[in-house]
């Protein structure tokens, strides 16, 4: 068990190290930041001064060592655009992305589970068929286009909800959150529904498949034979047993929700990490790109590590396999 954990940690560290090399080399291949940072009117001496200040004149491997050494100290460079530490700029945007991702997951559960239960309990009903067809559509629709349609409908035509930005924020634990104010909540609704759509459909279909699998089993028949109320059979006996795959998916999907928030944030001008990275790519703000990629890779390595370790702890088959080899 311990050996498995140590080996897994070592693997995670190796992935991180490989990513620093790939990210660094690749980022240094995009364009020349000097052209963007220095006005075309600047003379040669001014150009040389800036190039030297940023260390852009050193050979690539020396730039990498400098980068690695700094990265280990939590310093991923100074943003060319914001003139602040890149990691700090990204972490400032983290709460906005987190609150969007968490509300999207919550919406996906609240919408997906009951509809999936309904469709599973009445598989041949007309409403169930409509639900399932709509969920196929939910898989096929590109996120960004759904976002545009939402803006078109609720923002422009009906004028019910704001169509972009984060609105007013309030402070909690020293961080600004939008969901604490009425205005912020109004701004949060459209983007979080947009981001939730795909996972709501996924959870819906999982729940339905789970119900279809569990319903014919003996313990459900027994519970009914005991004369338990239908609400209790479904609320306790069925629900408990279909929740396992749903909970697993919610954990795994959290990472991809954060990744897909890039799209939603761009559509709704939500000032999170995703919008920051797209803006930074467009102006070639290399330290931000590097820092974002390193942060997101670290994020995913940690999620995968936690999921793996949880499985190792929970599932005896995985545990035995780990010890055997």
């Amino acid at each position: 068990m311990t050996a498995a954990i140590v080996r897994r940690l070592f693997q995670a560290a190796m992935v991180m190290f490989a990513m620093t090399v790939i990210v660094f080399i690749a980022v240094n291949v995009i364009g020349d930041p000097v052209d963007i940072l220095i006005s075309p009117d600047a003379d040669q001496i001014e150009r040389a001064r800036v190039v030297q200040a940023l260390g852009l004149d050193l050979p690539l491997w020396q730039q990498y060592l400098r980068f690695l050494q700094a990265a280990l100290h939590g310093d991923l460079g100074q943003s060319y655009v914001y003139n602040e530490p890149a990691l700090g700029v990204i972490l400032q945007r983290l709460p906005a992305t987190l609150e969007l991702a968490v509300s999207a997951i919550l919406i996906a559960i609240v919408v997906g589970v009951p509809l999936g239960l309904y469709a599973g309990l009445r598989p041949d009903g007309i409403v169930s068929r409509i639900i399932m067809t709509v969920s196929i559509l939910g898989f096929s629709l590109p996120t960004f286009w759904v976002g545009l349609v939402l803006i078109m409908l609720f923002g422009v035509q009906l004028g019910w909800l704001p169509s972009g930005g984060r609105g007013q924020t309030a402070e909690l634990f020293g961080v600004q959150w939008a969901f604490l104010t009425k205005d912020g909540l109004a701004h949060l609704i459209l983007p979080s529904f947009n981001l939730a759509l795909f996972d709501a459909c996924l959870i819906l279909r999982l729940t339905r498949a789970g119900v279809a699998e569990v319903l014919p089993l003996d313990y459900i028949k027994f519970a009914r034979a005991k004369g338990l109320k239908e609400t209790r059979v479904i609320g306790i006996h069925v629900s408990k047993n279909i929740m396992i795959p749903v909970v697993t998916i919610v954990g795994l999907e959290f990472g991809s929700i954060v990744a897909f928030s890039v799209v939603t944030e761009s559509v709704f001008s939500w000032p999170g990490m995703g919008k920051l990275i797209i803006d930074s790519i467009n102006v070639l703000d290399r330290p931000i790109i590097t820092a974002y990629l390193m942060a997101i890779v670290a994020f995913f390595v940690i999620i995968n590590l936690v999921v793996d370790l949880t499985y190792t702890a929970l599932d005896p088959r995985v545990r035995l396999q780990g010890e055997g080899s």
């Binding site: 096929s140 590109p142 960004f144 286009w145 545009l148 803006i151 078109m152 990472g255 990744a259």
Partner: protein, 307 residues
Amino acid sequence: MSVDTLPPQLPTDAERGEEPPFRILMRAFFRSPVAVAGLVLLAAIVLLALLAPFIAPQNPYDLNQLDIMDSRLPPGSQSMAGMTYWLGTDDQGRDMLSGIIYGLRISLGVGVSSALFAALFGASLGLLAAYIGGRTETAIMRIVDLQLSFPSILVALMILAFLGKGILNVVLALVIVEWATYARAARGTALTERRKEYMEAAESLAIPRWRILFVHLLPNCLPPLIVIATVQVARAISLEATLSFLGLGVPITEPSLGLLVANGYQYMLSGMTWISFYPGVALLITVVAINLVGDRLRDVLNPRGRE
């Protein structure tokens, strides 16, 4: 095993009075009206894309045919020259309908070519992994697992952040995103196939390994790969549109459907919704049509695979 014990030559399908498997599959496919509708729709879309220069009312790349006075007209307007813009015009006076038909070419081209290259590359690696085994297999599958643990949009975003815009770069990014799916599927199928008797027979006849791999093993692994390829084309088209919408995909000179949507985005808040809306509808119809065909193919080729 002596040659004498080999089974006698089996009668061909025709001799046994049976239909060839391909025709059985076709019949099964056409039993679903929804799938047939999807196929017809898809055929129409492909024809539209292929014959774009002959069908589109206007060549959106030909500046001589554009009139800036016609820019941002709502659907159904008349042009200065008397032509009707059924889906309106964009900010440069381009007919949206023509723009969509030409955009379909780019979207479909990128989707199909990336799925094809990814299938070639991924399936070969997957087959090799299953056939050779050992360290090669472990190495290939590690990379596959690692890559599949990151969301596709993120991987594509990273690659395009490095490479910059361009159709070839988008195709390359999509191939890198998709190959792992094919590799895993190909390895899975090949592992079950290689235990079958025909593989044993081929090996005991001392046929060269490459021949066993590509002539005996590959064709038998194709059905699941075809299903995946169909669905992956739809995913590739959708991902390309998303990347182009974010400004990381195809260049402005060769607008795909996603880029057309992006172009109209800035005018949407002022009520000119058609510039973004119709390219999105075209994208949606294309993706749904492909998915309908892919769903049915999965049912037909793998009857046990679904609930």
